[in-house]
C-alpha cells in the first residue's frame, strides 16, 4: 500500500516535471514567441482605436503625491562620463537633438528650461506591478521636435541615455535607451522632465533629464537622457527592438 502510494506520487511528480519542462520549452521556442508577440500589435492597434490620440493620462492632486516614490533600473550610474557630469552639477551637460532633423540642436539645462513647459501630477506604473504618483515639470517634446524640424522620413524618436544598466553586455546593448513613435512624441503630456515634486530631478530618478510618456509603463520613461535621435527605423540601434528592455523580451508598446 505504502509502496503503491509512493509509486503514484512519484509518477505524479514526474508528470508534473515533464509538463513544466514542456511549458518552458514552448516558451523558448522562437515560433511560439513569435505567435505570442502578435498580441502586442493587436493591443497597440486596439488601444489606439478606442483611445483618442490626444487623450490625457489621469492627473492627480498635490495631496495624492506618493511620499515613497520608488526608483528602479539604474539608480546611481557608475559610467565615468556621467559621474563627471554629476560632480560638475550638470553645468557642462547638453541635450543633443539630431538624426532626421533639419536643425540639430545642442541645449543646456537653462535653455531647456526656457522651452515651452508643462507640469503634471501623474501615476507612474511599473511593469512589475507597483504604482506611485509624482509631479513632473519639463519641456514639452512636441515643440522641441518642431524647433529641430523633423524630416519627412522620421518615424520614431530614440532616447539615448547615460547609464549602463547591464555591464555584462556589449556596450551597445548594455547602455539604456528607449524609443516612441510620433503619436506619443507629440502627445501633450510627453515631456522631458527636469523637476520632480518641485525640485530638480534626483540622480536616482534620472537627473538631469528623463522622459515622461504617461500612457505607457515605467520602463518607457527613459532616465539620464543625453541625446534624442529622430530615425526612420529602429533596426541597427542597440539590439534593434527599440529599447533596453525590448531587447530583453519586453513589449515595445507598453500601454498595458
Amino acid at each position: 500500500m505504502i509502496d503503491r502510494r509512493r509509486w503514484l506520487s512519484g509518477l505524479a511528480a514526474a508528470a508534473m516535471g515533464a509538463l513544466l519542462a514542456g511549458c518552458d520549452k514552448l516558451t523558448m521556442n522562437p515560433v511560439v514567441q513569435q505567435g505570442l508577440a502578435m498580441a502586442e500589435g493587436l493591443t497597440r492597434r486596439a488601444q489606439r482605436l478606442v483611445v483618442d490620440r490626444k487623450a490625457l493620462a489621469q492627473e492627480f492632486s498635490p495631496a495624492e503625491i506618493s511620499p515613497d516614490f520608488r526608483a528602479n533600473g539604474s539608480t546611481a550610474p557608475g559610467d565615468p562620463e556621467y559621474r563627471a557630469l554629476v560632480e560638475a552639477g550638470f553645468a557642462d551637460w547638453k541635450l543633443v537633438v539630431d538624426g532626421l532633423v533639419e536643425r540639430p540642436l545642442s541645449l543646456s539645462l537653462a535653455e531647456l528650461r526656457a522651452q515651452p513647459a508643462r507640469t503634471q501630477i501623474t501615476r507612474h506604473d511599473c511593469v512589475e506591478g507597483w504604482s506611485a504618483i509624482g509631479q513632473w515639470s519639463g519641456a514639452r517634446l512636441g515643440p522641441l521636435l518642431d524647433r529641430a524640424g523633423l524630416k519627412e522620413s522620421a518615424r520614431y524618436i530614440v532616447f539615448h541615455c547615460a547609464d549602463t544598466l547591464d555591464p555584462n553586455a556589449p556596450a551597445a546593448l548594455g547602455r539604456y535607451y528607449e524609443s516612441i513613435d510620433l503619436i506619443d512624441a507629440y502627445h501633450p503630456q510627453s515631456i522631458l522632465a527636469y523637476d520632480m515634486n518641485g525640485a530638480p530631478l534626483a540622480v536616482k530618478h534620472g537627473a538631469p533629464l528623463r522622459l515622461r510618456v504617461e500612457r505607457q509603463l515605467g520602463y518607457k520613461h527613459a532616465k539620464y537622457v543625453m541625446r534624442i535621435e529622430a530615425v526612420a527605423d529602429l533596426a541597427g540601434i542597440g539590439g534593434g527592438k527599440g529599447g533596453f528592455w525590448e531587447d530583453r523580451g519586453y513589449e515595445w508598446y507598453a500601454g498595458i
Binding site: M16, T27, E64, E128, E214, G249, Y250, G255
Partner: protein, 267 residues
C-alpha cells in the same frame, strides 16, 4: 440488468467548444498571471503602492542561518517556506510549479498573459453572443421559480453536502446551486477579470479614467484582479470535484460529444 438509460442532448456545439477553449485560456492566464505577480509579490488598496503597508506580501527572511518564506496577510504573518515567499532555494512569491514559465521571466509571463487574454476575450464574446441569441442563458442557466424557493434551495444544499446527485427527470436540468455558481462565474467573475485587467493598463486609463476609479484605483484593481482569479480557482476546484463525484465519464462525455446519459428508473 443495468437500469435502462437514455441519452439527452446536454450541451450545444458552441458551449462545448468555448468551454474547452476557456478552460485552456484560463489555465495559461492563471499560471502566467502568477509569474507576473511574482515580479512584485505584494498587494495594496488605492491608486498607489504604499510600500511599507501592503495588505498582502510574500517575502523571504533569514532565521537561524536559513531562508524562510513569510506571507503577510493584513496584520497576520504565516511561515510558508517551500510554497510562498521562498521555494526551490529562491526568493519568489509563488513556486516554480505554479508559474508559466517555471523560471523567473516577467517578459515571458507577460507575452503568454496578453496573447491568451485576447483568446479569452474573443472566446468569451462568442459564448455570450451565442448564449444570448440561442437562448442558452434563459433556457439552461436562469433558475426556475420553483428552484429558487427557500425550501428547495435548503434541500439542494443538504443534498450537495451528502453528495447525493440528481437522477432521472431531475437530472435533465442543472440544479439551482449549479446555475447560480455558473451565472456568478460567467457574469461576475470573468467580466471582473477583464475589467480589472484593463484598469491596470496606463494606455486604457487615458481613454477611460473612470475604469480604475470604479475599483478604487489602479492598485485596488490589481488586488481585485488577484481576488477574482482566486475565486475562479476555487470554483474550478469545486467544479472538478463535482464532475468526479457525480460521474466523470458521463460528465466529460457530455462536454465533448454533447450527449448526457440519464437513468430512467431512478426517480
Amino acid at each position: 440488468m443495468p437500469p435502462p438509460r437514455t441519452f439527452v442532448r446536454r450541451h450545444g456545439l458552441t458551449t462545448r467548444l468555448t468551454h474547452w477553449i476557456n478552460a485552456a485560456a484560463l489555465l495559461v492566464l492563471l499560471l502566467s498571471g502568477l509569474q507576473i505577480f511574482n515580479a512584485h509579490p505584494a498587494l495594496y488598496w488605492g491608486d498607489v503602492s504604499t510600500f511599507a503597508r501592503p495588505w498582502v506580501a510574500m517575502v523571504a527572511a533569514e532565521r537561524g542561518g536559513e531562508a524562510v518564506g513569510i506571507t503577510k496577510l493584513g496584520p497576520a504573518m504565516f511561515e510558508t517556506t517551500g510554497v510562498l515567499g521562498f521555494s526551490g532555494n529562491e526568493v519568489r512569491g509563488f513556486p516554480s510549479w505554479a508559474t508559466l514559465p517555471s523560471y523567473r521571466s516577467l517578459a515571458d509571463g507577460r507575452r503568454w498573459h496578453f496573447a491568451f487574454a485576447w483568446l479569452f476575450v474573443v472566446n468569451g464574446l462568442v459564448y455570450l453572443g451565442a448564449g444570448l441569441i440561442g437562448g442558452h442563458f434563459r433556457r439552461d442557466l436562469l433558475p426556475g421559480r420553483d428552484q429558487l424557493a427557500p425550501r428547495h434551495l435548503l434541500r439542494e444544499i443538504v443534498d450537495h453536502a451528502r453528495l447525493r446527485f440528481a437522477k432521472g427527470e431531475a437530472a435533465r436540468r442543472y440544479n439551482a446551486l449549479q446555475k447560480l455558481a455558473y451565472l456568478a462565474v460567467i457574469f461576475v467573475l470573468l467580466p471582473m477579470m477583464v475589467l480589472t485587467g484593463l484598469s491596470m493598463s496606463p494606455g486604457m486609463n487615458a481613454g477611460f479614467p473612470w475604469l480604475p476609479e470604479l475599483f478604487g484605483g489602479r492598485q485596488s484593481a490589481r488586488t481585485l484582479h488577484f481576488i477574482s482569479a482566486s475565486l475562479i480557482v476555487l470554483f474550478a476546484v469545486v467544479h472538478l470535484a463535482m464532475v468526479l463525484l457525480s460521474g466523470p465519464v458521463n460528465g466529460l462525455r457530455s462536454m465533448i460529444t454533447g450527449k448526457f446519459a440519464i437513468r430512467e428508473d431512478a426517480r
